[in-house]
Point group: C3
Chain length 368, copies 3
Amino acid sequence: MPLHQSIISVNQEDKQNMTKTNPGNYFEDFTVGQKLVHATPRTITSGDVALYTSLYGPRFALQSSALFAQSLGYRDAPVDDLLVFHVVFGKTVPDVSLNAVANLGYAECRFLRPVYVEDTLTATSEVIGLKENSNGKSGVVYVRSTGFDQRGDAVLDYIRWVMVHKRDQGSRAPEAQVPELKTALSENDLCVPETLALERYDRQEAGSSYLWDDYAIGEKIDHVDGITVEEAEHMMAARLYQNTAKVHFNQFSADKGRFGRRLVYGGHVMSVARALSFNGLANAQTILGINGGRHVAPLFAGNTVFAWTEVLDKAAVPGRSDCGALRLRLVATKDQPCDGFPDKDEDGKADPAVILDLDYWVLMKRAS
Amino acid sequence: MPLHQSIISVNQEDKQNMTKTNPGNYFEDFTVGQKLVHATPRTITSGDVALYTSLYGPRFALQSSALFAQSLGYRDAPVDDLLVFHVVFGKTVPDVSLNAVANLGYAECRFLRPVYVEDTLTATSEVIGLKENSNGKSGVVYVRSTGFDQRGDAVLDYIRWVMVHKRDQGSRAPEAQVPELKTALSENDLCVPETLALERYDRQEAGSSYLWDDYAIGEKIDHVDGITVEEAEHMMAARLYQNTAKVHFNQFSADKGRFGRRLVYGGHVMSVARALSFNGLANAQTILGINGGRHVAPLFAGNTVFAWTEVLDKAAVPGRSDCGALRLRLVATKDQPCDGFPDKDEDGKADPAVILDLDYWVLMKRAS
Amino acid sequence: MPLHQSIISVNQEDKQNMTKTNPGNYFEDFTVGQKLVHATPRTITSGDVALYTSLYGPRFALQSSALFAQSLGYRDAPVDDLLVFHVVFGKTVPDVSLNAVANLGYAECRFLRPVYVEDTLTATSEVIGLKENSNGKSGVVYVRSTGFDQRGDAVLDYIRWVMVHKRDQGSRAPEAQVPELKTALSENDLCVPETLALERYDRQEAGSSYLWDDYAIGEKIDHVDGITVEEAEHMMAARLYQNTAKVHFNQFSADKGRFGRRLVYGGHVMSVARALSFNGLANAQTILGINGGRHVAPLFAGNTVFAWTEVLDKAAVPGRSDCGALRLRLVATKDQPCDGFPDKDEDGKADPAVILDLDYWVLMKRAS
């Protein structure tokens, strides 16, 4: 019995007969329109930010320096966008994906306002679609998850779809409802802080002279460096996000599984690749949105991650002439340098070294 | 020559002839009534808390969210009880257990008041018992250790007994004095913050609907999940606690030793097991006291820790009807899931997978 | 083309034809008198300090306790000197040593004023010497690097010389200019905070009764303990310092290299050895300067680090009778305990176990 229901409807007697551990939700437990309130509010601290730095080594000046951030009109260095994403995502796991077969995709992920140290994040999800698989064993659940700060203001929202086991194969399927998803956010969906001011932007401090104007659609950038991932690192990361998905932590059980290894949390790969992308995109100070993302293949400890970027699109930011948005495709590989831009073949099949294919928008200063 | 004595009595000439490194205290160096002032005061920061989260992944709402804590009458999110325990314990190591053969037990551990970020902790110990072993090679030292905050208020005290080497087998033994130890703290020994207020307690945020009333004496809970421990993690933890016990850090020396491996700090196992126990005990927001604990077998990096709980007792909290105390037995295993509740056999011999057997009191909201 | 030049002189058209990743500077890119402004300002937080504690386990009271620091006239616990060094050093890597063959040495490193949590550090370097190697393939670059806080006050400066590849072997060499370097800083070069007050210095809290007066020139101290280093630890450290030197992170590339292993950042060894030196030097609360340092041999994960100290010199601190300076030689080894003080042989050849030979000044209270 799922947590959010038990709180509302379970009486004392029933509870005595149930396990007190969280069994997670099965496909039958979800209904379209259902609201899930996720557990464990989380106050973000400078300690979380330091761990994020230590785990990935990001060098974007906006998150690294309170002074640089203030020179751009932020009240302090904002918390890294992906740290916010991972914390909110982690909260959804016990209610959405504890019984997942696979995480299928993301869409329409928008970073709505900056998060600062001392903000307390909470998360809710709404079920927006359901579709049973033809085999009767599982189904796809679509949720829109939202992260809030302590003022109740939304800081992030995104759509995720997951394949979830059914508890009982014989149970009747709900009518299929599949939401329409945008292929990509448009510039009107992107939120730029109103206080953003770029006159004092210091490219030397930021680490690159290349601005929005310097990037061309179709341009490819090899981020050169590689980072080898260790078990202690990806587990410390997932615990920092209070992400409890079993596959990341339990080697005893992994020994009996398909891979024989603990799986690195997909979001860890996103953060490693984003940090690598500094070398070539140092002025991409903040992520505005994620259009979609695919964890093409699993990553294991001991693998070395490389990354390359393709510029997919460029857009003006409505109402501003000092900055623009770049739509980027960030491809990460394992154990293969990216000077050859490993990609799909003619049949659309990904190069076997590719582990992540992420489509996202960043904000970048324009030449004045 | 032990530190606490050298400070008082050693003159300049003597010192020139001595090593400047700390040799630790031997059995002969202890006398009943002796007070030890431990070194290195420690200001606890939000960085320490973030590392604790990253190393164990606790999800109890009280320590995770400043807002949740404030809704319960705390002025901020308190520092995790076991983090406080480990920091105080770490300070005692150089003076109490540097020459220990074995850590034999804990008793009467009371968490006396919440510790917050920016508090500075110090520690002292008083020798309360001594008993030479019949082999003349070592003896048991009983100490009561106390942690203080910057106001001089005690935040934690506990009794520990340790088997310590004698420096000289021929030295004369002191008269045996063995303190009487309580098997368990009673409800009158437990300290609940006076400002605690539970009317606004949010079970959805806390992550479970099960309250004090829902737990029955004798009930067993399998905490389901397993966590594999890495060398980098347990060493980072022990260093965070400024715990310098040699067995945790030195593989070169361990290669020549009994196990051939570095030993994981026993407190690390306590914290892993406590974090696992969230799944089944999410409303056990704070530890009131530890009645006793036994590190039944050593844990090594690469092992996967599982845990289960038995409800040993339930008690009212004097003067309060909104919360109660649960006396829990937390058993941790290595490389063995706990769905079968691995335990002692008829002869009282522990299952070989068991590594920790901890008897402690938690605070939990009562149904109103 | 090096970053600092591209910002000044590259026009739009040129940039379209260049890679956007940082190729680093080659020997030909440096000229004596050239100023390099390094990227990514960094606000130091209590999270960074906690990670430093967790990675090395330092126990010096000054950095551990805000109260102890305040009792000595500091406004808060200062950030560990070597953490400041590593952060400033990390910033110089992309501009100074990305194409380095080898890091040859340090000199005249002075800690100029305390750094506190919330200070924002930036760094610049000035090229003070150049000398091409006779093989025409590389040359030695001498830089003086300076770290600044948000007020623009210098907190640290040091000279470093590095052997750097030439881009083109045929390019003409500049006239050799080799700066004169001091063998050691004199007491007049050392900066002691004006507010320092030692009347309330508590040796019990500090952990040792041995003061400046107790150390004799020529005295050797074995620091006894050993610490095994893990891959996750040294990489987390280097990323915390935003140090991007490729050799620390990329096992895929290391597999094809000379050692087959990732190299541990030399500064990591300095910090491990400094933390070990607490056992024997607990009152050496702060580093005043580094006279020179040599990374004698590489360290790899899995090695166990030991350390010993030789007292090289003692000096009064100008204008103060309450404290003095000790000039120490800190020698670190791998996989060899230091009770025999492993050192150079008669021919000056280092014991093969030695990995670090550091010559530095510390501040210590004098007996009153």
